[in-house]
Amino acid sequence: MNNFGYKQAEDTREAISLIEHNETAKFVAGGTNLIDLWKYNIANPSQLIDINHLAELSEIKTLEHGGLRLGAGVKNADTAYHPVVEHQYPLLSKAILAGASAQIRNMASNGGNLLQRTRCYYFYDAEVPCNKRIPGSGCPAKDGYNRIHAILGTSEHCIAVFPSDMCVALAALDAVVNITGPTGNRSIAFADFHRLPDNRPDLDNNLKKDELITSIDLPEKGFAANYAYLKLRDRHSYAFALVSVATALELKGNTIEDVKIALGGVAHKPWRSTEAEEFLKGKAANAENFSIAADLILQGAKGFGYNEFKIKLAKKAIIRNGLMALNPESQLPGAQPSA
């Protein structure tokens, strides 16, 4: 861990100008990911720009045309327990509460959650090669211990997984990420925010170095009647997902009018399949159809040895979660499968 400068930004404009002029500066929000990376010599910022006090980032408010704006600086816990989120977007609330621990959720910010880095063991160990850390150095995960790694959208350079739970729900809900930067404001659809590794695994997402996330917008439709978030992991709490599924359904009787399914723990970004969702529309919400959808979602899935099981597990999880979405009350706490 190196010596560094520290500055509290007064407003977003100052935050941007500070980062614009220092190549090795970093924003810090909750610090729950950045400080860990720093201690392991993976991040080495020369300057910390503290964005915790920025008023523009700290609100949750309803939008004029419907929908909800989540400030990037709002804590994960405050977001999950916000009455509108609990009521109108329970899928998001459940997904956030399935992540990390109460202490970490109290510190973690919404913006930071989108930007947390992979938990790949090899990425986290500065002494071993990793294309995400040092492009071109190699990927020992491919033929190493890859139980937690990706089965979809991998490249020969990287099989890391994006580990967030919150983002799986945000992807399913078609959220939009609002950004400000030196050249002004812009918005990115959630599906386009995170990247696949391709030949640039060092880039997790499409945010530029000198841009700041200000908020995340949720569209009006929150799928509050039929939803479920299932998180499968090696212990019942405080572990990252091996496979997670966010399912949001709009039903007429037992017929699916609208559907969104996003997977976590399987790729470099929350995974969705338009083909599968299109298939389900107009169909009965039953195991058979969810099974066909699962096959469509998992088309091209590929294991690397230790993570081979994820293909079968993901399929089971998609079907089960679809059925759980029919009766959200059936789910056990901690995003576990229903009793």
Binding site: N3, Y124, Y145, F309
Partner: protein, 745 residues
């Protein structure tokens, strides 16, 4: 007279408030003036040589005092013998910063000393090393051809090699009516106590050191330091009044102690060295093991052959072994046996005892094999254990001093509701969950080490009890206070047990569930002597009614000594000391096992664990919904602290069965999940209802207290009980721990 006794009562731990309020100080927390901070540099290379060290960048950082490596370290004792500790396995002890050779990944290769911790840590990344790397081997499975028996040495006494074969195992097994053959795999586990290993060395001058250390053995570490650095024993004082867990990792001095003392002596200053969590994975661990099991029985379920062959990892410099192979014979009679324990030396650090070493690994394989056999025989698993029940330890052919295992089986089965079990796998369901019931037996040695205790009765009526043992969180302080209070008829407030200090009379390290019997018995022996002295002194008083009284004629209660035949005749202990001109009356005595008498017996604790699991029928997630463990461990001094020990070890069982594994990447030769985020141990959500029963077990042979120790016995049966319950729920036998839920789909 029994009214005021505290032994046998549930008493909350006396230091509880200090611990929960943060007032209890641990090794890294002592405020010391002019303290320098050391940070350890760990080798990124698994095997090879350091060819160059350039410390100029680090030394140029303001606040950096020194970088010590093999190139500039002070001269040290060079006899291997002088690096030996009480728990060293046969071989060549690892010597930090000894030379340029790197023996394992994460090995300490330098110590940066700076004015503050942050500077030392920063500077540790500014040292330029060059290495010559060599090919290494870190995978047990890939190196089975190197398996060989362990060398013998000092530590062999506590961990004897397996007994020679009996009968005609191969023939008996080949011709057996019913048999099971299987192979079990266990991975590496690290102890991971919450308290990081740390040492604070106070440099007192004139070759004197006061050392606050995280350890399970103050005297062990005192001798280690004195021997290596050529100091006089009496000038080295090691203190460890509070220990934030250790689970075996503190049985040997760890390298931060060595480095900290070396830096303090070299710089003639106070120094602290604290390891970080990743470095907690750079020394001792439970070794990975492969166990080949071959059990056979006749048609009625009587065991005819027991075969248990173990291959486990060790380092390339020491031959570590665990007691594994012969446990089955200590439980079950069989005329034909074959037990083997071999080790494979790899480029890793030497493994070390971790809670119930050997026992927890072995009993998993043994009790799963028994379960499998019960299915082949179509005999209830509990019934099969009862058919093969024996009051004689078949491995040594000696009777147990006591063995209430049958009571454990029956009481736990009753409480659990074992009779409601439908033996058919996958037959019991609850909604989306497959329900499984499993059971297993546990056994563990009942050790007692020699220990010395000083008792001192003071003028204010306070009894001071001195012994060097630690309290690693087990409740030692509380139970020793109880024992001493009862022996002298005092209330708990009038007893002050002083411990965790190498200056106090001798105690072995705190391991093997032995300390209650070791220090506890020494207190009983010393109390006998102290009562004699008090009586003698009282008899010296003018017209004393105690003049003619012998030891048997008096009793001690509420701070007084009474005549048995006329309890109204009494004198307060304070008055006796006042008569002694206020000078405390003291005695120092040794408690030791009655070797001669006990040679004819086998000494062990026993347990029976019954477990219910739920397995999701679609996605395989496993929950241990409830478990009952009944324990037979002789007299229970304090049911509350003992219950906590058993609960803690039952949770270890859940952990071993379902969660814990250190992942070795054999291509890189290093552990990949060296942090508590990725090294999983159970969280609250993983733990269901746990129930503990202590079976009544009177043992008048084993020692003066009738105690056997409860630190480890609660763990040994659990992993097998869980595995067996999972088999019952799903019909799948998983032979590798931890069981990953995806294997159950």
């Amino acid at each position: 007279m029994e009214l005021n006794k505290t032994v046998g009562k549930s008493i909350s731990r006396l230091e509880g408030k200090l611990k929960v309020t943060g007032a209890a100080k641990y090794a890294a927390e002592y405020k010391v003036d002019d303290l320098l901070h050391g940070y350890v540099v760990s080798s990124p290379v698994t095997k090879g040589k350091i060819t160059k060290i350039d410390t100029s960048r680090a030394m140029a950082i303001p606040g950096v005092i020194e970088v010590l490596s093999h190139e500039n370290r002070p001269k040290l004792a060079w006899f291997d013998l002088q690096y030996m500790d009480m728990d060293a396995p046969p071989g060549t002890v690892f010597k930090p910063l000894y030379d340029e050779n790197i023996l394992y990944n994460g090995q300490p290769i330098a110590l940066v000393v700076a004015r503050d911790f942050e500077t030392a840590r920063y500077a540790s990344a500014q040292i330029d090393f060059e290495f010559e790397e060599e090919i290494f081997q870190t995978c047990l499975e890939d190196n089975l051809d190197k398996a060989r028996p362990a060398k013998k040495g000092f530590a062999t006494a506590l961990k004897p090699p397996p007994p020679p074969p009996t009968g005609e195992f191969e023939t008996a097994f080949a011709n057996a009516a019913v048999k099971v053959e299987s192979e079990f795999q266990h991975g590496t586990e690290h102890h991971n106590p919450i308290e990081l290993f740390a040492t604070t060395t106070v440099y007192e001058g004139k070759g004197k050191l006061t050392i606050y250390d995280k350890t399970q053995g103050t005297i062990n570490n005192q001798l280690f330091v004195a021997n290596i650095f050529g100091l006089r024993y009496k000038n080295v004082r090691v203190l460890a009044p509070f220990v934030g867990g250790a689970f075996g990792s503190g049985l040997r001095p760890q390298y931060q102690l060595f480095l900290c003392v070396m830096a303090a002596l070299h710089l003639k200053q106070n120094v602290r060295v604290v390891l970080d969590r990743k470095q907690m994975f750079s020394f001792s661990h439970r070794p990975p093991a492969i166990q080949k099991m071959r059990f056979a029985s006749d048609m009625n379920g009587r065991l005819t052959a027991l075969g248990h062959e173990v291959v486990a990892e060790t380092s390339n410099f020491e031959d570590y072994t665990e007691p594994t192979a012969s446990w089955s014979h200590r439980l079950y009679p069989a005329p034909n046996t074959l037990f083997k324990h071999k080790i494979v030396p790899l480029d890793v650090y030497t493994p070390m005892d971790m809670r119930a070493p050997g026992g927890s690994t072995a009993l998993h394989a043994i009790e799963c094999t028994m379960d499998e056999l019960s299915y082949k025989l179509k005999i209830d698993p509990l019934e099969l254990r009862l058919i093969n029940y024996s009051d004689v330890d078949q491995a040594s052919k000696k009777p147990y001093t006591s063995k209430a295992l049958r009571e454990c089986y029956l009481q736990a089965a009753e409480k659990f509701g074992w009779k409601d079990r439908n033996p058919e796998p996958r037959s019991m369901k609850r909604g989306n969950k497959l329900v499984g019931y499993g059971m297993a037996t546990g056994i563990w040695d009942a050790y007692q080490f020699p220990a010395r205790v000083q008792l001192m009765m003071n003028s204010d009526g306070l009894l001071v009890v001195n012994n060097a043992t630690t309290d690693i969180g087990t409740g030692t302080l509380t139970v020793m206070t109880q024992i001493a209070a009862d022996e002298l008829g005092l209330s708990l407030e009038n007893v002050d047990f002083r411990y965790g200090d190498s200056k106090k009379p001798f105690s072995m390290f705190q391991g093997g569930s032995a300390i209650t019997s070791s220090t506890g018995v020494a207190i009983v022996v010393a109390a006998r002597a102290l009562r004699k002295k008090l009586l003698k002194k009282a008899a010296e008083m003018n017209s004393s009614p105690f003049k003619k009284a012998g030891d048997e004629d008096v009793f001690f209660e509420s701070g007084n000594m009474h005549l048995k035949k006329d309890p109204a005749v009494m004198i307060s202990l304070k008055d006796i000391i006042a008569f002694n001109k206020g000078i405390p009356i003291k005695t120092t005595n040794m408690g030791k096992p009655h070797m001669l008498k006990l040679r004819k017996y086998s000494l062990a604790t026993h347990s029976a664990s019954f477990v219910e699991v739920e397995v999701d029928q679609d996605v395989g997630t496993v929950t241990v919904t409830r478990a009952v463990t009944a324990v037979a461990a002789g007299k229970i001094i304090n049911p509350k602290t003992a219950r906590s020990q058993i609960l803690g070890s039952m949770i270890w069982g859940v952990s071993k069965a379902l969660h814990e594994e250190t992942i070795m990447d054999a291509k890189l030769g290093k552990y990949m999940n060296a942090n508590l985020g990725e090294y999983h141990i159970p969280v609250h959500a993983d733990i269901g209802e746990l129930d503990v029963i202590f079976a009544d077990e009177k043992d008048e042979l084993i020692n003066e207290l009738g105690t056997k120790g409860v630190g480890e016995i609660g763990l040994v049966g659990m992993p097998a009980a869980i595995s067996n319950a999972i088999f019952h729920a799903t019909g799948k036998r998983i032979y590798k721990l931890p069981i990953h839920f995806d294997e159950l789909i």
